[in-house]
């Protein structure tokens, strides 16, 4: 792969999901890979109290010029990586625009409001259709399902990172990300590399 330019400066990437899924982990891996490639990166995250089952999002601002704030302004996301489907839609509602690119893991995680009968989880097919409609381009990656086949839903993170890299929307290649993966998962690196490569493959097929 050749070194590419940022499609826009700053490039605004939203990573979203549910507390505990691994948002922070993904933003750390992608962020570190960018900093090592000489970019200026800001990452804002919601976690802490919302670690426990709440909606979480990481805002990444990637630039060659300056240190941007840790908040993407409303309507200004370039890419949304959705680890959970309704959380992807929540982000599109606030940060989406006609140029936005989405990568979505279509595995629902039901909130206690839904299980308790106080809220309705939309039909999954309809949900994916809405996400597609609101995006310039959408990749659907069955990351959780594939990760479970590998033995643990946690491998979904490496699959999604692979999909993000494989999609070519970031000026990062495999070689920039792999060393960071090795440092992040020293014990389970082989399985995570397998997952990472699966993600790259899924997005290209």
């Amino acid at each position: 792969m050749t070194k590419k330019q940022l499609m826009k400066d700053p490039l605004n990437l939203v990573i979203t999901g549910v507390g505990g899924q691994g948002n922070v982990m993904i933003s750390l891996i992608i962020g570190n890979a960018f900093v090592r490639d000489g970019y200026i990166v800001t990452v804002g995250e919601t976690y802490g109290a919302s670690q426990r089952g709440g909606p979480v999002m990481s805002h990444m601002r990637i630039s060659k010029e300056t240190q941007y704030s840790p908040f993407i302004p409303d309507g200004c996301a370039d890419i949304i990586l959705g680890m959970e489907p309704v959380e992807t839609l929540r982000m599109l509602g606030r940060y989406g625009n006609p140029r936005v690119i989405t990568i979505i893991n279509p595995r629902p995680i039901y909130s206690i409001d839904v299980t308790g009968g106080h809220a309705e989880y939309p039909d999954l097919d309809k949900l994916v259709e809405i996400v597609k409609e609101l995006s310039a381009q959408t990749w659907i990656i069955n990351a959780t399902e594939e990760a479970q086949k590998m033995g643990s839903p946690m491998f979904a993170n490496a699959i999604l990172i692979g999909a993000l890299i494989g999609s070519g929307v970031l000026p990062l290649d495999k070689k920039s990300v792999e060393p960071v993966l090795r440092e992040t998962f020293p014990k389970e690196i082989e399985a995570n590399l397998v997952a990472f490569n699966k993600g790259i493959k899924f997005v290209k097929s």
Partner: protein, 645 residues
């Protein structure tokens, strides 16, 4: 956490603000660091502790913020550069010591206090602004505007603190403390430190090495001289700067993360040629001359800051000294309603304020797309309320509390405080908790309720606290209850970690911040030594826990203690595989026909249990379930099955 000790000067690292502060302290040659965990400050001490042995420094999790600050002052008196870090609430805990410390002065080692505020109280009980304490107590105060400054400013602040001989304070907020950005590293010092408390034994000249706040008026005068010197430094500090045109349509005065929001807003509105930004890094004493020089840049001035109007009021006070015929700019900010005086800010709020003042329109995205996206998100995205993790012992404890109170039938009251268990205010803990304030407050409140028998009060009183909170803030309140014979049960939710802030050890864990084994301060032995009846329960044993609580409530008398002991599920899950494989037997689950009102999915609300609309039965979400097996005892139909995993 990142490796803050990496010896690679000139390289850029991706650090959260807290790691940058810790790195700045390392580059400054810090020897001693103490803190009590509190979001968003915890990673400062956390990242120092993990490299403390390697770097030959000392780091501790102190029992509370006051002791942390006092311990750091002790190190300063012996010539060691030292730091105490805390969240905004900690400043209240330590304020009594601070009011004396500013008078006594610090030792030969520079002493720095870091306070991390949490605008919008994202992980707090309140959103207190701690900057005013600097004005109140005469403490030189700085605030970094980005990640690089967080490191550079911390390093510089140690020099300043040492030169002035007074405590200096760095304030940060969540979006610097917990956000990540580029930090270019500097050199690490390489010098041996020697600690020695110098004393002058000549009785005619003891003052220089006596760290005391008296005689107070004289000490106060000394303090003011130190503040004058700080002001002199601040007037020429490079942490204060102006970017923008020589003459601007609008001047923004800002600090901290709002500096980043202001730049984003100007960029989004393409107003670089029309709007100037005066970014302040040294906030108190206010660099008056520097501010005055820039105030005439525009006849409109907007203050952008979180949370209180600290700069706004300070600059307006300065306005009082303008010459009588001076042209006064129009001030915009919290007073005018252009910037919220509550909650955290973001670039969009600054965009809105600037657009309103300058009469501009701003459109981030196509209007039709925006309307559609908002509408479909609103109608399709369900709420996602916070809850305890799957397998959390707190859920089991509050289940037993709920059932025991119901069976007791005297309308018992649960008082609480801040921690993961604060979520028991809502559906996660079955709405059991009725009061929540600062750490340990529930036990103090219970002391009062438990003494109202003479007024006909007969409701049982249960005060819940976390294990770390027990050591931090409840021991005097428990002693008060035993001494004054107040009738309440102290329930300690002992999950063997300071879970909400990142699983830091505490005196009950037998481990220090630096990973050394130490004595376990047994909470049951401590409480028994005070003469309290103490029961230790496994919260996963719902029947036994409920029975013990019922019996303790019936017994009455003075303060009693029930310890709910079960490791935090997040800690357990990191080390071990789930104990059980849990499933719902679709034959036995009869859904809505059961008459239990879907106890498992509508009331118990563990996120590991979901409701399958198609089959009308409960189901285990194997991605979420941690296999604790507690729900097996919740189902009246015996439809939830656990098998050893």
């Amino acid at each position: 956490m990142a490796n803050i000790e990496i010896d690679a000067p000139g390289t850029s690292q991706l650090f959260i603000g807290n790691e940058a502060i810790a790195r700045g302290a390392l580059e400054a040659g810090i020897g001693f660091a103490a803190a009590y965990p509190g979001t968003p400050s915890s990673e400062i001490l956390g990242s120092l502790a993990q490299i403390a042995k390697k770097m030959n420094i000392y780091a501790e999790w102190s029992i509370n913020e006051k002791v942390a600050m006092e311990a750091a002052a002790g190190a300063s008196y012996a010539g060691i550069r030292s730091l105490a870090a805390m969240k905004q609430n900690g400043i209240n805990v330590v304020s009594d010591f601070l009011a004396n410390l500013v008078m006594s002065g610090t030792g030969k080692g520079g002493l720095v206090l870091v306070s991390c505020d949490d605008p919008s109280a994202i992980s707090s009980s309140n959103e207190q602004d701690t900057r005013p304490i600097a004005k109140w107590l005469d403490i030189p105060l700085v605030e970094p505007g980005d990640f690089q400054e967080a490191k550079d400013m911390t390093k510089w602040l140690f020099d300043l603190a040492e030169e002035l001989g007074t405590l200096c304070m760095l304030r940060s907020v969540t979006r610097i403390a917990h956000a990540r950005g580029n930090v270019k590293l500097g050199e690490l010092p390489n010098k041996q430190q020697k600690a020695y408390f110098e004393q002058i034994h000549d009785l005619k000249n003891v003052m220089p090495t006596r760290y005391i706040p008296i005689p107070s008026p004289v000490r106060h005068l000394f303090l003011h001289a130190k503040m004058d010197k700080a002001l002199e430094k601040f007037e020429s500090s490079l942490f204060n700067r102006y970017i923008g045109p020589d003459r601007a349509d609008l001047l923004i005065i800002t600090c901290g993360s709002c500096w980043l929001y202001s730049q984003d807003a100007i960029e989004a509105l393409k107003l670089r040629d029309r709007v100037g930004i005066l970014k302040l890094g040294t906030l108190w004493p206010l660099p008056e001359k520097f501010v005055m020089e820039h105030l005439n840049k525009s006849d409109k001035v907007l203050f952008v800051e979180e949370i209180d109007p600290f700069l706004e009021r300070s600059v307006m006070e300065l306005g009082g000294s303008f010459p009588p015929k001076a042209i006064r700019p129009t001030f915009y900010g919290k007073r005018s309603g252009h910037i919220n005086a509550y909650g955290e800010l973001n670039p969009d709020m600054v965009i809105k304020a600037v657009s309103t003042i300058l009469g501009l329109t701003y459109k981030a995205r196509d209007a039709d797309y925006g309307k559609k996206a908002e509408a479909v998100a609103k109608s399709n995205v369900p709420e996602r309320s916070m809850t305890f993790c799957a397998g959390c012992p707190h859920r089991a404890t509050f289940w037993s509390i709920k059932n025991a109170l119901k069976l007791d039938g005297h309308d018992g009251v649960v008082t609480g405080d801040i921690g993961c268990y604060s979520m028991a205010l809502g559906p996660a803990g079955f709405f059991q908790v009725r009061t929540m304030h600062c750490m340990g407050a529930g036990v103090g409140v219970a002391n009062g309720l438990g003494k109202l028998g003479q007024f006909g009060f007969n409701q049982p009183v249960l005060a819940v606290v976390g294990d770390s909170t027990f050591y931090h803030a409840t021991i005097p309140a428990l002693i008060n209850g035993i001494y004054n014979q107040s009738n309440f049960i102290l329930i300690i939710l002992d999950n063997s970690a300071t879970a909400m802030t990142g699983f830091q050890p505490h005196p009950g864990t037998g481990m220090t911040a630096m990973g050394e084994p130490t004595k376990v301060i047994s909470m049951e032995a401590l409480c028994r030594s005070l003469g309290a009846r103490v029961e230790v329960c496994d919260p996963f044993d719902l029947n036994n826990t409920t029975a013990i609580l019922l019996e303790m409530m019936a017994e009455g008398g003075g303060a009693k203690v029930a310890i709910m002991r079960r490791q935090c599920e997040l800690v357990r899950a990191k080390k071990e595989k789930p104990p059980y494989k849990v499933r719902v037997d679709a034959e036995r689950c009869i859904g809505e026909a059961c008459g239990c009102d879907r106890l498992c999915t509508r009331i118990f609300l563990c996120p590991g249990l979901i409701w399958d609309k198609k089959t009308g039965k409960s189901k285990v979400d194997e991605v979420i379930c941690n296999g604790c097996g507690v729900c097996v005892d919740v189902c009246p139909q015996g439809a939830i099955i656990k098998e050893a995993a």
